[in-house]
């Protein structure tokens, strides 16, 4: 008896040691009604419990009652159904499960009524989204909408689960066709990681373990993918941002700034700048209840002490002087409208951004996005569940980054001043270039080090630089380039690949080199195009819609006309 007890104790201690080491993945499930979302969630919760608890039970060598195959999930599904029909559709339910490798938080967004608002809410904290597609129906407009919202909210990992594969006889060609359809569409979105998987949520094929009914599928099971997908590098670890939550000052000796590291890495000795004052200091120490630490990274909650005595308060931000955020009172942003009352341009709202609350007013609506077609329409209002691009003025400066680069400093919510309701969520896409005194964002310390001026570059090359943003495909871009080149322009083509994240940096670099830069990115790279438009001087940016033209010669002629109108003409040939 005694030996048995000992064996159990070793087991549980080992289990705990290992278990306390695992990390956390948050994901969201999206699908149209009846695609099998509830069944899948039920499957994951139920079967993973098995996987999890059995690892401990196996130590005890108890008999195992395998639950593979025909579990009746009707009960479970009905439970969720009932919940859904209670009328509380405007909601996100959070569910939890764990495996020996990871803990998971599912944001489950039922209902289709308030889908955009719900999905945006669930997606805002998610690392990954599972988009369910019914194998019999293929890619539907809703699937596109789900993918769009996921990418809008900055989710890096998309899993397309082609469900009910049992109903199409586990056929590879059906799966492949759906993948191709989806890939086609997804090229327009900024999703760095796409994973396709055929599953049967009902029978469990490829959900927890790999199914032998689809030998043609070479990937891992859904759960295995969720357990192993690499999310650590999704964070921004290069630009340190530390929004101050509160000042900790228990006595005369101690003064620290409490907050959560939003991005980057913070170490004692690091130079920091306090925003908005701009005053510089260094990190003296990083204090926690468990002792001082040698570095802090997201999402650690710590208390930072600085070398110098300064006036720092809640809402201030610590950032490295070499890579500060944008300090601005005017932002370009995408809004998901969540209020019952539509957006009113005449009214003031509150914005909560990092640890700041500021008054704000929406100056203009650039456009509204049709979330099914992704087309843009002019708009004067935004209604519940609509998405639009807006320009916002704030009463005091915000310290922001582009949402694509920094989820924490690129996001905000809008609060109604009268009802106090949260009426919108916002993703910052840039700063409005029309603000007087706006300086280009890339005007950083490095520019001051340059020994060759733009004028010198221009004299050597023979014309000023310009960025031509055009759609119509790489082939057309190269054809146009060769026309321009023959006319004496020094040119370069950037053909966008699926990863759009470096596109703008590339374009700006080539532009800085003084060349006529043709960016073949098309309407698929909407965010970057918009951003380029707001970052680059208007007379150095040509946004050319080539989709209406077949003939490269014609496109080249039109572009040269535009160049000539702006005085961008080669002085030599």
């Amino acid at each position: 008896m005694a030996t048995k007890t000992e064996e159990v104790i070793t087991g549980i201690d080992q289990f705990l040691r290992r278990d306390e080491e695992k990390d956390l993945l948050r994901f969201i499930t999206a699908g149209s009604v009846d695609d099998g979302k509830s069944t899948l969630i039920g499957r994951l919760l139920f079967d993973s419990k098995g996987v999890y608890e059995d690892q401990l039970a196996s130590v005890k060598k108890a008999t195992l009652n395998e639950s593979a195959g025909a579990i009746d999930f009707a009960l479970l599904t009905d439970g969720l159904r009932a919940e859904r029909e209670q009328g509380i559709t405007i909601d996100v339910a959070y569910r939890y499960f764990a495996t020996p490798r990871r803990k998971f938080i599912i944001a489950d967004t039922p209902g289709h009524e308030q889908y955009t608002r719900n999905m945006a809410t669930g997606a805002s904290t998610a690392n990954l989204a599972i988009i369910l597609i019914d194998a019999r129906k293929g890619v539907l407009p809703q699937s596109r909408r789900h993918a769009f919202i996921a990418s809008l909210l900055g989710i890096h990992h998309l899993v397309v689960a082609v469900n009910k594969i049992d109903l199409v006889d586990y056929r590879e060609d059906v799966f492949e066709r759906i993948c191709a359809d989806f890939r086609n569409f997804a090229a327009q979105l900024q999703v760095p990681d796409l994973y396709f998987i055929p599953i049967s949520a009902l029978y469990g094929d490829n959900v927890v373990s790999k199914s032998d009914r689809m030998p043609w599928f070479e990937g891992a099971s859904l759960l295995h993918h969720l357990e192993t997908v690499h999310i650590a590098s999704d964070r921004n670890l290069t630009e340190m941002r530390f929004p101050v939550q509160l000042v900790v000052r228990p006595n005369q000796e101690f003064r620290g700034y409490a907050g959560q590291v939003a991005s980057g890495i913070l170490k004692p000795g690091d130079p920091v700048m306090v925003l908005p004052s701009g005053r510089a200091s260094r990190v003296k120490s990083i204090v926690t209840y468990d002792g001082e630490v040698s570095q802090a990274f997201p999402p650690m909650s710590v208390t930072v002490c600085l070398e110098d005595e300064m006036d720092v308060s809640r809402g201030n931000m610590l950032a490295p002087p070499s890579h500060p955020p944008l300090v601005t009172r005017c932002i370009d942003a995408r809004l998901v409208w969540m209020g019952d009352q539509p957006l009113d341009l005449r009214r003031q709202y509150m914005i909560k951004h990092t640890t700041q609350m500021v008054k704000a007013q929406v100056r203009s609506i650039r456009y509204r996005v049709n979330i099914n077609t992704l087309e843009k329409h002019p708009a004067t209002e935004l209604h519940l569940n609509e998405i639009g691009a807006v320009v916002i003025d704030t009463h005091s400066p915000l310290f922001v980054d582009h949402y694509g680069r920094n989820r924490a400093t690129g996001s905000f919510v809008m609060v109604d001043l009268v009802s106090n309701a949260t009426v919108a969520s916002g993703m910052i896409t840039g700063r409005d270039p029309r603000v007087p005194g706006a300086i280009p964002e890339h005007d950083t310390a490095t520019a001051a080090l340059a020994r060759i001026s733009d004028a010198e570059r221009q004299a050597r090359i023979g014309h000023p630089p310009v960025l031509i943003w055009m759609n119509g495909g790489a082939e057309l871009a190269y054809a146009v380039e060769s026309e321009l080149f023959q006319r004496g322009y020094v040119t370069h083509v950037i053909a966008a690949q699926s990863d759009g994240s470096v596109l703008l940096d590339l374009a700006q670099n080539v532009l800085a080199a003084g060349l006529v830069t043709i960016c073949s990115a098309g309407f698929l790279y909407e965010v970057q195009r918009e951003r380029a438009g707001s970052l680059i001087e208007p007379n150095r940016f040509i946004d050319f819609d080539a989709s209406r033209f077949e003939d490269p010669g014609r496109v080249a002629a039109l572009i040269m006309q535009e160049l000539a109108a702006r005085g961008i003409v080669p002085s030599r040939r």
């Binding site: 919760l45 098995g50 405007i90 339910a93 569910r95 764990a98 938080i105 969540m338 909560k352 640890t355």
Partner: protein, 301 residues
């Protein structure tokens, strides 16, 4: 890992600390509801961490029904003194003097008076605008949609249709006059996370959680503590039983379970095995607490 990734427990910890600091910064008069249970113990530890090296900037509020276990009250007083926390104890005196007890009123009515009413009164009396509670979303189905900041109208009522969407970690703390909120910093913790954290951090908890030989009233499969006089039924007997409490409430309404688990790891192990047996019996349930098997063993009245 690369040294720049937090474990799930440290991630939950960081998130909870962030929430506690937001509440302290954005509300005039926050208070932490302290129930003496394991979740409260975890919450207090998180508050200590959040404001270190400062003190916890808000008081702890315990609603004492006067039916709590003696061991709970002893623990409470020692614990609060040890960490230097400010403790407010509130009791619905009027109801006690009128003789409120679970045997005559029934559990529901008794709880209504001694817990719910008492809490609302205490919050009003202290003019608290934010009450921090230890509830978790995984406790039961209906809590899965609960917000971290949960709004109450001027009557302390919760309107499920009028809750605010919560995106990222941007909590909207704006209140209209008379409104208040409940804040749940442990929203994303599961029961297992709480136990693991207690283990990892060596957090003190009430000894009633640990198995020990205790004198119990045995009624069928129920184990009822004999802290005070309980009306006997035919067939009841008093016995020394090796047992422990899974949750702590009032002594007349909290059953014990037979158990040998006298350490935190053993409790965790016991919990895992419970669930496994449920699974084998094909009890499909989302909540870990909700299963009949456990409820029976706990002896719910």
């Amino acid at each position: 890992m690369d040294g720049l990734t937090l474990t799930h427990l440290r991630m939950l910890e960081a998130e909870s600390i962030y929430i506690l600091r937001e509440v302290a910064a954005e509300f005039q008069r926050p208070v932490m509801l302290y129930s003496i249970g394991k979740d409260s113990s975890v919450m207090v530890r998180l508050a200590q961490k959040a404001f270190y090296p400062g003190r916890i900037p808000f008081p702890l509020l315990h609603i004492d029904t006067t039916y709590k276990f003696r061991e709970m009250i002893e623990f409470r007083d020692r614990f609060c003194a040890d960490i230097g926390a400010r403790l407010i104890v509130h009791t619905n005196r009027a109801a006690i003097e009128a003789g409120a007890n679970p045997f005559d009123l029934g559990t529901q009515k008794c709880c209504g008076l001694l817990k719910t009413r008492a809490l609302l009164d205490a919050l009003a009396e202290g003019e608290f605008d934010a009450a921090i509670g230890g509830a978790r979303r995984d406790e039961e189905k209906s809590r899965a949609k609960e917000r971290v900041y949960s709004f109450r109208d001027a009557h302390g009522q919760w309107d499920p249709k009028n809750q605010r969407p919560e995106l990222w970690n941007l909590f909207n703390s704006k209140l209209s006059p008379g409104e208040s909120i409940r804040v749940f910093p442990l929203s994303n913790w599961t029961e297992l996370d709480v136990w693991q954290y207690i283990h990892l951090e060596n957090i003190p908890i009430v000894p009633l959680y640990f198995a020990k030989k205790r004198e119990m009233l045995v009624r069928g499969s129920m184990l009822i503590p004999v802290e005070r006089d309980i009306p006997l039924l035919p067939g009841d007997s008093r016995q020394q039983v090796m047992c422990r409490m899974r949750s702590l409430g009032c002594s007349p309404c909290t059953g014990a379970i037979p158990s040998e688990a006298d350490t935190v790891p053993k409790i965790i192990e016991e919990m895992m095995l419970f669930r496994r047996s449920e699974r084998e019996n094909r009890v499909i349930d989302f909540d870990q607490e909700g299963s009949m098997e456990i409820k029976k063993r706990e002896g719910y009245f």
